[in-house]
């Protein structure tokens, strides 16, 4: 990638300014479209990220009921977020209500967890539920 200055006896013909090949226009358009898509997706993702951040802070402070509300709002925006689903499940399992435990189990359905995540989960998950999970070979 260079910009090279030209100097010499023969002056070559300069290209017409602001006239670019069609494929360059297409690439430029592609970049603009990509940027527009990115900026359009940014507000909901940003909102979900701040909701998760708040939920995790609340959960750390022991306010699991409030944390669940924040997690639920984040889940509406990004239903496939592993971080949201795991955090929500942990908050549900910390609840003394068995109905909440069932909800926690439902949130985890179809999720693959790594070792650290599984350890965090088993710390709060009722033992009977732990048997419902199976090992996945990497």
């Amino acid at each position: 990638m260079d910009d090279v200055e030209q100097s010499g006896a023969e002056t070559p013909v300069a290209l017409t300014p602001h006239r670019y090949p069609a494929w360059i226009w297409l690439i430029g358009l592609g970049i603009v479209v990509m940027l527009a898509v990115a900026l359009n997706k940014l507000p909901p993702y940003y909102r979900a990220a701040t909701l998760v951040q708040s939920a995790e802070t609340l959960a750390e402070d022991g306010h699991d009921n409030s944390a669940v509300e924040f997690y639920m709002k984040a889940l509406e925006i990004t239903p496939s977020s592993k971080r949201v689903r795991l955090g929500l499940a942990i908050s549900y399992f910390r609840s003394p209500d068995e109905e909440d435990h069932k909800k926690g189990l439902g949130v985890l359905q179809g999720l693959t967890l790594d070792k650290d995540e599984w350890q965090k989960l088993t710390a709060v998950m009722p033992a009977a539920y732990q048997r419902l999970f199976t090992d996945v070979k990497q």
């Binding site: 910009d3 360059i24 900026l39």
Partner: protein, 188 residues
């Protein structure tokens, strides 16, 4: 050091190369500097080039040399911000969302990796700074940047371009969410 041929890196990160050369060409046109030949992308060394006439003003030379750095860095930062949140913060698992985020991140990284002016860019700029005749603020700013980019070009051997791209992609999330996206376990 982990060595990969330059042409292969350029091939894998071609959007950044094209954008870099487009910015050079565009800023030459803006500055009224004649452009004689352009290669936006090719498999070779260099991966792209813009052959142009001499810039008569230090400001124009600065714009032509530094323009791609600004354009590529801004694009890298904006595109990656939307990608980093679902990949590293929210950890989305749905393939469609993950694929679009990874595509954005790849384009963003390629922009960041080709943001820095090449050694030829800086040689041109240095020559103009030397010949500018003035010793005012623009001269010293020019000298500062040329020194900075000379160091950056040496550090490219140690993958500084990739490190820079990664730094740019994580800068906004880091500023807004702290170290959270990089090391999620610290905050859990």
């Amino acid at each position: 050091m982990f060595l990969v041929p330059g042409w292969l890196i350029a091939l894998l990160t071609f959007p950044g190369v094209i954008c870099h050369e487009m910015a050079h060409r565009f800023f030459c046109d803006i500055a009224g500097v004649p452009v004689y030949s352009v290669s936006y992308f090719r498999v070779g060394n260099p991966a792209g080039y813009v052959i142009h006439g001499p810039a008569t003003k230090l400001k124009s030379a600065f714009l032509i040399s530094i323009g791609p750095l600004i354009v590529n860095t801004v694009l890298c930062s904006l595109l990656s911000f939307t990608a980093v949140i679902p990949i590293f913060i929210l950890e989305v698992t749905e393939r469609r969302h993950l694929a679009s985020a990874l595509l954005l991140w790849w384009v963003a990284i390629s922009m960041g990796m080709h943001a820095f002016p090449s050694s030829a860019d800086m040689a041109n700029f240095n020559a103009l700074v030397q010949n500018a005749g003035t010793r005012g603020l623009p001269y010293f700013v020019g000298k500062f940047f040329s020194g900075l980019f000379a160091i950056a070009n040496v550090l490219k051997f140690f993958w500084f371009d990739a490190v820079y791209a990664l730094m740019v992609t994580f800068l906004l999330p880091w500023l807004l969410f702290g170290l959270w996206p990089l090391w999620p376990s610290l905050s859990r």
